[in-house]
């Protein structure tokens, strides 16, 4: 028997590479929207490599894996 997969449609959900699912401060999920934007992911300002500050300590915002 030979099986040829012509197309495999599947579902995946994206998430931020972080240690946690929820924000330690506000308990909101990271994968949601920040208060400034309506659409999560690409359009969220946090995903843009611009200068951001941590809301707690006002230090420069850095991603874990960078």
């Amino acid at each position: 028997m030979k099986v040829t997969v012509k197309n495999w449609t599947t579902v995946a959900s994206w998430k931020w590479v972080a240690n946690d699912d929820n924000c330690g401060i506000c308990r909101m999920p990271f994968d949601g929207c920040c208060p400034d934007c309506k659409l999560p992911g690409d359009d969220c300002p946090l995903s843009q490599p611009v200068n951001q500050q941590c809301p707690m300590c006002r230090q420069e915002w850095k991603f874990n894996n960078k």
Binding site: M1, W8, T9, A12, W14, K15, V17, N65
Partner: protein
Amino acid sequence: MEEILFDTKIQWARIKKIFPILDNEISATPFSKNEFEDLCNIVKTNQIEIILQDIIMNKTEKLLRDKIAPEFWSYFKNHSAENKKFDLFFNAVKSVYNNYKELCNIMSRLELLRKEVNIVEVPYNELTVHDSLRLILRATLFSQLHVDYQTLVIEFYELVLRMEDREESNTPCLICEVEPYCNCFHLFEETNRKLGEMSLLEPLVGQALTDLSYHYIYAHIQKNSKDNYESFIVPLEKWLHSVVINWLKKIYSHDSYVPLSEYMEMFEKKLVNYLYNAYTKIRIDQLFNIVIEYPESLPALEDIRICLPRTDLKPMLTKKLQKAMETRLLHPGVSTTDILTAYVATIRSLRVLDPSGLLLETVTQPIHQYLRSREDTVRCVVSSLTEEGPNDLAEELNRGEPVDENAPVDDEDENWETWVPDPVDALPCKQSPKETNPSRRNADIISMLVNIYGSKELFVNEYRTLLADRLLSQYTCDTEKEIRYLELLKLRFGDSHLHFCEVMLKDIADSKRINQRIKEDAEYLESDIPLSTMIVSQQFWPPFKDEKLELHHTVVDQMKQFTARFETLKGSRTLCWKSHLGVVNLDIELNDRTVNLSVSPIQATILLHFQDRNVWELEELSKVILCPATVLRRKIGFWLSHGILVETKPDVFCVQEKVEHKAAPQEDFYVEEFESESAMASAKDQKEEELQNIWSYILGPTTECGQSELKAFLDRKVRERQLIFANGLYKLPK
């Protein structure tokens, strides 16, 4: 002495000559002038004027009582005989009339005598002795009234009424059933004339005529309006005038004792009123059907609207319609979609009847209550909102102006002249009338449906689930239609409520782009498994069904590659695969055949494993793909039914390269088959079930052991570092 006696006898004989009734003889023989003068002299000399008159009246009464009235009623007694009911009544009237004529004759003589001898008194204080006669006649007849006499009277008149109602006049007469032009009608006229002359028309047949008219009108309306929702009010009134009233006029024109026009006017009013009442009642009985047939039944509704204010039947309408709804619509035998369709029709048609919306509010109350108790209502509403094809709700959505509930209603000034107040029976509302009335008057159908539940959230959530299902079950990126509906829904429910759905649709569009980007990537090696991935933002989708499934390593490798590409494409982000979701299109080449199928990932995985190894045991395979044996068996069943796998021994399966007996698989091989299960709905159920399980754990400790005991136990857990105690709360450690 003897002479006087003799003389008296002669005189008495002379009196009797002129008034034979004194001898109980009704027919009188002619008399000469001399004889009459003689009589006058006798009366005068003996001064017996009053006594004579009394005796005559007395005798008349006796005669009527003993002979004439029984004779008249005897015709009614044997009316059960089939033949000639028409003749019976005719003859009865004829007999009484002939007798009456004779009595009239006597009365005329009495009148003459009265003039001659100057009698002032009239018996029974009537104007003339003839009046007295008629009074006595009436009284005597009615004193012996036959219980059942109306039947015959009604039959007599009905025949003529039916003749009046016929369209063509040259069909055989209904009475004698012979000729189109016969004498029957003259007989009828004659009877009426006689009754009129005796002033018996109204007393004897008046009630029967009224009853007959009512019955006839009712039957006529019923016959015409059955399953026919045209407007009838105008033709009916016309018919009433041309047939019934015309017929009545013909009858009453013979009644010389009441002024015709005045009487007819009264009768007409009564009949028109009855017509409206009867028509409205009949329509109310049909109202449920009328509502369902809307808009075909619009003319009938207009009729009811016109009739209602004239008849005061509104409470009955409300009650009957509610009852009909309950017995015909609101029971388990009717599907929710049908109820919704009926509900929409009800809203639309009752708007016609009562623009103020009060009626609608009252009638639909039970429907609301019932729909609330049905589980699939929301789903039905949402799916029919976004359905293709002719559908009331979808139309409404496409057409509908969004109803801005907060908008101030200031059109009152514009049409204050046509303003209609709420009916008096409107319920006083908690809110101020300015707020409630417009919503009652204007609320559109979708808002009304949504208001059944009192909140938009429920609808929006249901829509989200439905949308998720549709997007995931179709696995296409064609979202144009969905976007259109979303925009329409946004108009109605507001942006904020549908934000989640917007993200979902954007996910689909983004996935398409990302897939393309990754496939174009030089580092991405497309092996023998072409992947297309829907990348979703989990927070915005309804929870997926959670199932464990270890895919075949080739697929897993491919996914890993995809993930790696995704991670480079989108910094700081990674993918979580929902490996059990999706659809796989397969070509299966066997020794003797090739099959193309669309299957679920688990089924594809099973087959891929069988490609590596021809024979698998159930347990073994179950361990490899992390799927419970029972579930796996069911999934394998799919391949068994397609004849690709066979169970050689219990729990041992192998590939069937050749089909020996073509009869084994029933269906066409090339049928696209795919178990379309919802990825969402059951997830919901599962969660519910899980929560139900948890409940016993929550309930157990708080009720079974005391609070201090529980606290001691939890504190011990804290000491064992299985729980954390902070700010008065026990938490699980991370």
